[in-house]
């Protein structure tokens, strides 16, 4: 009798210990990005990268939890973004989010995540206001902001000898932000902004703006906006016979831009935060593992950041458990944490400092790092040089 009882107690004890270990609790993470529409290539690249991070973690026997990625599409529209953000935040099973490439959307959802208490890490939006425009603890960001981007851009273009710009920007906060910061740095370095035109993010016809720009006779047309209208403006520039250099921002650094323009894309210059994937500290590892999964789309420019954000979240959850408040607390103390994009430190606004800014130029149908290109070595010339 006593032995049976003891045996039963032992069995129960073993069961109680074994069960949690064998049945890992599922923890849900939300991924939000533009999966449809003109920026979908980047959105899908980000999703695949976050998915990769989750897959690798789930395959790791040492991980405490089983992770599930809940993928939501914000369509690069602020209203849709707020809707899916509310959905993610209101779902108690989701404990953290990897959010947004489009700045327009990221800026709109800041309040939503704060209200619903969901800790998030931004993976691709560059508008400074997203982390600096408020003091909510919920919003963090692993990629850099457009301030550094435009500073480097101004320096490089001034060095090339350009002095006269016309700025065409979209009227969202993203485009307006680029206009503000680039104007600031370019004029500080001795350049002149001859004129500034705001266009809507889905505008089809730019004849009015481009005709006025042509009359101002600029050396460079600076474009602050995303791929869909970037493509149209570059194409219509050619139709109207404008012979200026085309300079863009992180919004056009993706393959869709080149595919849509064909030969017209040659010589276009653009800038973005972070080094190209191959040059990142964990870049080779990331690209290898990404290729193994055979995703239909490439990781694009911000894939590594999405991966890093997902990994950071999962590491934090492994440490403090799947509790939103605890995750928030842990994220605020992130200092010099290693990741494939380099050491991550969140400042008091949740912003990570990313030192590197890469300049790109389109050469023979591909985005090539400026320093490695024939334009930098002098073999080919930018427009008007």
């Amino acid at each position: 009798m006593l032995r049976t009882l003891a045996f039963l107690r032992l069995a129960l004890l073993v069961l109680l210990v074994a069960l949690p270990a064998s049945a890992k609790e599922t923890v849900k993470l939300a991924f939000i990005g533009p999966l449809t529409g003109g920026n979908s290539a980047i959105g899908l690249g980000g999703r695949n990268s976050a998915d990769l991070a989750v897959k690798l973690r789930n395959a790791d026997p040492k991980s405490k939890y089983q992770y599930e990625l809940v993928v939501l599409d914000d369509e690069c529209k602020p209203d849709t973004g707020v809707q899916v953000a509310t959905k993610a935040g209101a779902d108690k099973a989701i404990v953290a989010g990897i959010t947004h490439y489009c700045s327009v959307v990221a800026v709109a959802t800041v309040e939503t995540f704060h209200r619903l208490g969901l800790p998030t890490i931004v993976w691709g939006a560059v508008l400074p206001d997203i982390t600096y425009g408020h003091s909510y603890k919920e919003i963090h960001r692993v990629n850099g902001t457009m301030i550094n981007q435009n500073e480097t851009a101004a320096k490089l273009m001034l060095k090339q000898g350009f002095r006269r710009w016309v700025i065409i920007h979209d009227t969202t906060d993203y485009g307006k932000g680029h206009e503000k910061y680039f104007k600031q740095f370019a004029t500080a370095g001795g350049g002149k902004i001859l004129g500034s035109f705001g266009v809507t993010a889905d505008q089809q016809d730019f004849t009015a703006e481009l005709t006025q720009a042509k009359a101002l006779n600029p050396e460079v047309i600076f474009f602050g906006g995303l791929t869909p209208i970037g493509v149209r403006i570059r194409a219509q520039m050619d139709k109207l016979g404008i012979n200026a250099q085309f300079q863009g921002t992180s919004g056009i650094v993706n393959d869709d831009f080149i595919k849509a323009l064909g030969p017209l894309a040659e010589g276009v210059v653009a800038f973005r935060e972070g080094a190209p994937a191959e040059k990142l500290p964990g870049g080779k590892f990331f690209l290898e593992k990404y290729a193994e999964q055979k995703y239909p789309n490439p990781p694009e420019a911000y894939g590594p950041f999405a991966y890093a954000a997902a990994t950071l979240l999962m590491d934090t959850i492994d440490k403090v458990g799947p509790d939103r408040k605890k995750i928030l607390g842990a994220l605020s103390g992130v200092k010099n944490v290693d990741s494939i994009v380099g050491p991550i430190t969140f400042d008091d606004h949740g912003q990570n400092t990313v030192a590197a800014i890469t300049a790109y130029v389109v050469q023979d149908g591909k985005w090539v790092v400026w320093e490695d290109s024939e334009y930098a070595s002098g073999k080919r010339k930018l427009k008007g040089r």
């Binding site: 602020p78 707020v82 209101a90 327009v104 209200r115 009227t171 969202t172």
Partner: protein, 383 residues
């Protein structure tokens, strides 16, 4: 039947209807997997169709009387809010469905009662929202802000009155379509109202309570959205009461006359212009108030929320439910708002699905899924 007996019978019938509705709704909202959702849907279809076929449902409604059914449904709604008190997702769904219902009630007055087509319903919803956004930050008490949302929507609508009165049929429809497009483009280009970035709203604050905050009452956690839901239920009750009162009064008769045959109505001395203006303005006011509350609940408003596509969705709800039938309207609103949220595969295909459904309804069953109840002379509809 003696009054006491009749009263008891009415209460029981109303309770029965509300209980069945509440159960079905609860099942739908609480369902986790898509299979469960499908089962609940199938069950609902069986119950409703069976009730209609066997005449049990109409009999119950007639025994209960409209007032009782409305009150019972309202109580059921509050009960559901109580059950889901800490689930913001479900509460949000309920509130959204209710506010869309209110907006459609406004459209109902315009299209189903007076025959004035309005393809800019979403635009007026947006006007209400933007009014709430602009006034909400200031010192205006929020109850007044909501009323102002309705008033401004009605005022903006009055800009279209002259063109609408001068045109008929397709031409009148074009006026509202053009206005809807105009409105959205204007908002996107204009910086003062936030442009494409939109505007943020602080939450609703009534009676000293901030609706955005979660609350703890006697140890029970209640999500902020529960309060918005309660407000939406209250608004829906007011709107239904208003619309039904208008419909069962002499105003309703005049509107019917204007809708059915303008020439004959004019011959009888009914001022076509005056009644069309009244219906259009009242409808827009209702839509505007719903828009204001919705914007305060979501906390954000942007021009993209108010496209022509959204206006078409509102009109579709009206058509699917059957033009003129309020019960059908409510069911259609639920289907259109809740189904895509609960059945993920439908999310992507929802516009396609709705448009095909509406086309089928228009071609095969023009009276709608549930037909309009004809007005009985010398008695209210509820008798």
């Amino acid at each position: 039947m003696r009054p006491a007996q009749a009263g008891a019978r009415a209460a029981l019938s109303a309770a029965a209807i509300a209980a069945v509705a509440a159960l079905l709704l609860y099942g739908f909202l609480a369902a986790e997997s898509e299979k469960t959702v499908g089962l609940v849907l199938a069950g609902a279809v069986v119950v409703v169709a069976g009730g209609l076929r066997s005449k049990v449902l109409p009999r119950l409604v007639r025994a209960a009387g409209e007032r009782a059914v409305m009150s019972a449904l309202a109580i059921a709604a509050v009960a559901l809010i109580g059950v889901f008190h800490d689930d913001p997702f479900v509460l949000l769904l309920m509130a959204r469905a209710l506010l869309v219902l209110v907006a459609c009630l406004g459209l109902h007055v315009q299209l189903a009662d007076a025959g004035v087509p309005n393809f800019a319903g979403a635009a007026f919803f947006g006007v209400g929202g933007y009014t709430a956004a602009v006034l909400g930050h200031g010192a205006t008490p929020h109850l007044l802000v909501l009323l102002a949302s309705g008033a401004v929507a009605a005022a903006v609508g009055s800009l279209l009155l002259l063109p609408l009165l001068r045109t008929r049929g397709h031409y009148a429809a074009l006026i509202t379509i053009a206005f809807g497009l105009l409105f959205r483009t204007f908002l996107e280009v204009n910086e003062t109202l936030g442009g494409p970035q939109g505007l943020k709203l602080g939450g609703l604050r009534l009676l000293g309570l901030s609706f955005n905050d979660d609350r703890e009452i006697h140890g029970v956690e209640i999500s902020g959205y529960a309060f918005y839901c309660l407000a939406a239920v209250a608004l829906a009750l007011v709107a239904v009461w208003l619309v039904r009162s208008v419909e069962s009064s002499w105003i309703g008769v005049a509107l019917d006359a204007v809708r059915l045959d303008e020439t004959a109505a004019a011959c009888f001395g009914i001022s076509i212009g005056r009644w069309k203006i009244a219906a259009f303005t009242l409808g827009n006011a209702i839509i505007g108030v719903a828009g204001g509350l919705s914007a305060m609940m979501v906390g954000f408003i942007a021009p993209n929320n108010f496209t022509f596509q959204e206006s078409l969705v509102l009109v579709s709800i009206l058509l699917l439910g059957g033009l003129g039938n309020l019960a059908g309207l409510a069911v259609a609103a639920l289907i259109v708002i809740w189904l895509p949220e609960k059945l993920q595969p439908i999310q992507e295909y929802r516009y396609l699905l709705f448009s095909v459904l509406v086309v089928l309804v228009l071609v095969l069953r023009p009276a709608g899924l549930i037909r309009r109840i004809a007005r009985r002379p010398f008695g209210s509809l509820a008798a």
